[in-house]
């Protein structure tokens, strides 16, 4: 089993997400992370899906997704073919225990403090999942009230073909 990042471009229609996920669930493939948001073209959604599957399966999965009416294009990538990040937010109780430790920790991890209130503070870190996880473990000693992580977002190293197609779509509409 290999980790794949699948990028899908589709219309922003009700039910399309459901149709895309059915392709995975029917084959008993678990989705590790899923992010859907508007692409650079209005009305066109971009999905970033991370899943583990056999090498032989991924092409079929991508073609089945592309077959869905409303999907423009589906592509799959291995880790070295993309640049990817996720966002993590940590909410920690504001207490004297933090002292000066927090600032050093935030700096070390390349994170930043978003909000400070008398009760709590919120730290944001953008990066790889493993690094965000590491920061989470370090913060645990201070009591993490909440930890939220986005799914992966990724841009590919190739893909220029489809970007130009998307631009044509935007011009046509």
């Amino acid at each position: 089993m290999k980790e794949y990042t699948i990028t899908v471009f589709s219309e922003n229609n009700i039910g399309l997400l459901n149709e895309v996920t059915i392709v995975f669930s029917r084959r008993k493939i678990n989705i590790e992370s899923l992010t859907v948001s508007e692409s650079e073209v209005k009305g066109v959604s971009r999905y970033t899906i991370v899943a583990y599957m056999d090498e032989g399966k991924v092409e079929n999965v991508v073609l089945q997704i592309e077959k869905i009416i409303g999907v423009f294009k589906a592509l799959y990538f291995e880790a070295e073919e993309i640049v990817h990040q996720e966002v993590a937010l940590f909410k920690i109780a504001n207490s004297t225990r933090l002292n000066g430790n927090l600032e050093a920790m935030v700096r070390k991890h390349g994170a930043k403090i978003l909000t400070v209130s008398p009760e709590f503070l919120v730290i944001e870190r953008v990066g790889y999942k493993a690094e965000n996880q590491e920061l989470f473990h370090e913060l645990e000693q201070y009591g993490v009230l909440q930890f939220a992580r986005s799914g992966r977002v990724a841009v590919s190293c190739l893909e220029k073909d489809f970007t130009s197609y998307l631009k044509e779509l935007a011009e046509a509409s």
């Binding site: 089945q64 592309e66 009416i69």
Partner: protein, 578 residues
Amino acid sequence: MEVATKTQDTNTICKTTEHLSGAEILVRSLIEEEVENIFGYIGGAIMPVYDALYDHQDKLLHYQARHEQGATHAAQAYARISKKPGVCFTTSGPGATNVLTGLADAYLDSTPLVIITGQVASGFLGSDAFQETNMIGLSMPVTKWNFQITKAEEIAEVMAKAFYIARSGRPGPVLIDITKDAQIATADYKYKKCEKIRSYQPTPELDMNQVEAAAELINGAKKPLLLAGQGILLSVAEKELMEFVEKTQIPVACTLLGLSSFPTDHPLYTGMLGMHGNYAPNMNTNECDVLIAIGMRFDDRVTGDTAKYAKQAKIIHIDIDRSEHNKNIKVEVPLLADAKQALTELNKLVSGTKKLEWMQSFKTYSQLEFDKVIKKQAYSDREKINMAEVVRTVSEHTNGEAILCTDVGQHQMTSARYYEFKKTNTQITSGGLGTMGFGLPAAIGAQIGDKDAKVVSISGDGGFQMTLQELAMIRQYNLPVKAIVLNNSFLGMVRQWQDLFFDQRFSCTRLDNPDFVKIVEGYGIQAKRVSKREDLDAAIKEMLELPDAYFLEVVVETESNVLPMIAPGAAVSEMRLE
């Protein structure tokens, strides 16, 4: 008279904008799409549509099924015979869930359907209202496209899209769920046919490099074999296929759904593929040097063990659905095109001479199959009638020109094996889904699709009882369908597997059947039972000559198995003759 004038008026003005009810818009959309026949079943949530239909009975004929599943199978066969999308109406809730089997069947067998299900009013959506079911969620995995209409303004555009999607590219079923308030509300109406959807490319551009690569393989082949699938029938490429075959002298085998795309009496026809197909094409699949697969999808019933399937051959795969290429079998030359388009181009580039030695190998295998199987089954000398004898007799008396609708099981495989298809597009059966109960309603749909055709349905005693309520349609609409039940008082195909693979432990396959003749007579249809060989020929002749509907039950041998057979998990070349 009043009805007629009314519609005439609407026709002259429907090109300009009008203000109409959603139900009326829906019905007019069907007329715009040249729909003539609808199959369905009325109920609460679709009543406004049926009310609108009442004014258009001169243009739209509605066939009242007795169960929504029957309506879908009739619509499927209608679509396959008439080459137009089959249309169904049902109400919400149970009416809608009853179409799911038909949708799944049509999805696997690439049949264009537009199914319109009523839905509770939009304000009730998600409230578990009476007869509310999430039909979009339920039908999503078994439709090419589905859509829920909640506003009258959406109807015309969505209907245009539905028909376009159902019939274009690789055809398939579409479900439109329409809330009751959208049927009642009014909107401006102007119909415009759909010709393009930006996120859907149904007709691929032909890659001429691939065509040339395919032609080169074909022209260099010494032992080629062509596999004809339903794609030939769907794209109406029978003539192009014939031209290709005669030019190249390549032997042809058909998939189950490809039957009748090529005449069985042609010297280059070698038989049916797959688990219960003919010996020669299965054995030679693993002997050929070039395999040309057209409009088929390498189903597991065709390939047997894929690890041992045509490994020695270079494979050319012509299919309109890109996701079918390299899905089950890795191929040398995938050719993205519909069969007609690809064959038209290939015919300009290919040629070939008679392959005498190669053809002889088919003949040798066929003779072996005749001696070991066909002689014993189609010309049985055992006490009880064999299914194959019945099919052979029907084939002879119809000259292989009737439309044959079959159900699922032993009788289906026997029909596919022993009916001599001489006319194009004359077999309707449930291939991918294997839906018992498909045959009888399919025969009804086929008869409506071609009023002049002789339509014969062959079912087993198991499947027949799954949809026999549709006999009422035959009676109500005076359809001259000839229905045959081959009764072995068993679920024969499962019995066969129990016999071969489960130590003859016949668990739950014996059927204690009712008196079929009495039941059918209860529907007002002439019926007869035959159990002796000497009565068979005359009974079939009588049935076929009668201008009306007719039911014939033939009591057949229980212990007979359909042979030859590729056991599950075995290779095509490991097909057993006994």
